[in-house]
Each structure stands twice: as C-alpha cells, then as structure tokens.
Symmetry: C2
Subunit: 90 residues, 2 copies
DNA sequence: GCGAATTTGTACGTATGTATC
DNA sequence: AGATACATACGTACAAATTCG
C-alpha cells in the first residue's frame, strides 16, 4: 500500500473516520525527500522522470512538478530540461 | 500597450523580426516586482487578486500564480488564503 | 548530421475545496 | 448565507533541450 491519499479522492465508504488531508504534492515531496536522505537516491543520481512518478504514484503531472519544485526550493535537487532532476551533491 | 507576449502567441505576421521569448509568468513577475519596488504597492498593501491579474494581463490563472510564487520565493510578498497577496514590510 | 523518442518548461482549461469577508 | 480569494488536482497541447539509434 502506502499510496497517496487526499480529500478529493474517491473513498470506499462515505462514512470515513479518518481522512488524511495532507495535499498530494506534499505527500509526494515527503516520499522523495525521504528517499534522498535515506540514500536511495545518491548524489548526482537522477530521480525518476515526471512520467514515471505520475504512473508510480497515480497522480497528475502538475502534482509531480509541484512536489519536485519543493525539493528544488529546499536545495535538495536540481532540474535540467531535457535531462531530468538530480540529487544535489553536498 | 505593453501587454505580455510569448512564443506560443498568435502573431499578426508570420514574418517576425523579433519575438520576446520570455515566458509570460516571468514577464508578469517582472511587472509586479517593478510595481512593488517603485512603491505603486506599498508595504502591507494587497496586490490585485488572481482574477484581476488574469483579466488585466490576459493570462490564465496558473500563469498568474506562477508569477506570484516567484515573488514569494524572493521574499517580496506573502500570500494568505482567502485574503490575498500582500507586500511584505521590510 | 538527422530524426525519433524522451524529458522538462510553458500555458491553457475545468472542477472542487478551504478560508475570509 | 453569499461573494470573493487562494489552494489543490485533474486534464490537454505544444515548445525546447537532450539523448539515442
């Protein structure tokens, strides 16, 4: 499991005790941030492409880009057009 | 005049000597940045709403938001949901 | 060097949720 | 309660840069 969830999502039952209201792009950013800090993606490694992240996490491209932008603003990654997004070497 | 232009825009003549390739959101950010620095919008002043900026500059909401986000990243403004975007007092 | 495929960038539209006035 | 304003998330289309055969 461990998929992304948000309030705009279809829910199996409309009687929901608990619903994660955290925005999808924040959740995705957290996942990627953790993957980087845990070394799953090392320095200079390329992250999965936007298309791959879309499919793997079942979200729209805009959502993926928003998540990545967060990491960029945090100085964790750099993005190069036509190449991809890379883990910033310390 | 002084409207925004971009490469994706319809052009009166397809023989164009010079075309401003600067992205719309960058052009709009520049306009707002200048308006702030010139004092047109003073400290704690609220900027025009996203809807107003859309109409006044003839761009989509996403473009407006991207421009404003730039100013936010530059520390020039702060945005409050339901209120608006305000010029950050030094 | 050329062209196709891949990948990110820009720009648009729509719908809905949340907060404020 | 209604109107206004920002936030999230989906979609489409095309441009631009890079990579690969």
């Amino acid at each position: 499991m461990s998929g992304l969830v948000s309030y705009g999502m279809p829910v199996p039952d409309d009687h929901v005790d608990h619903l994660d209201e955290t925005p999808l792009h924040v959740q995705l950013a957290a996942i990627l941030r953790r993957a980087i800090k845990s070394g799953e993606y090392g320095p200079r490694d390329v992250l999965p492409s936007e298309s791959q992240l879309m499919q793997e996490h079942g979200v729209a491209r805009g959502t993926v880009r928003q998540a990545i932008e967060t990491l960029r603003n945090e100085g964790l990654v750099v993005t190069i057009r036509g190449r991809g997004t890379f883990v910033r070497p310390k």
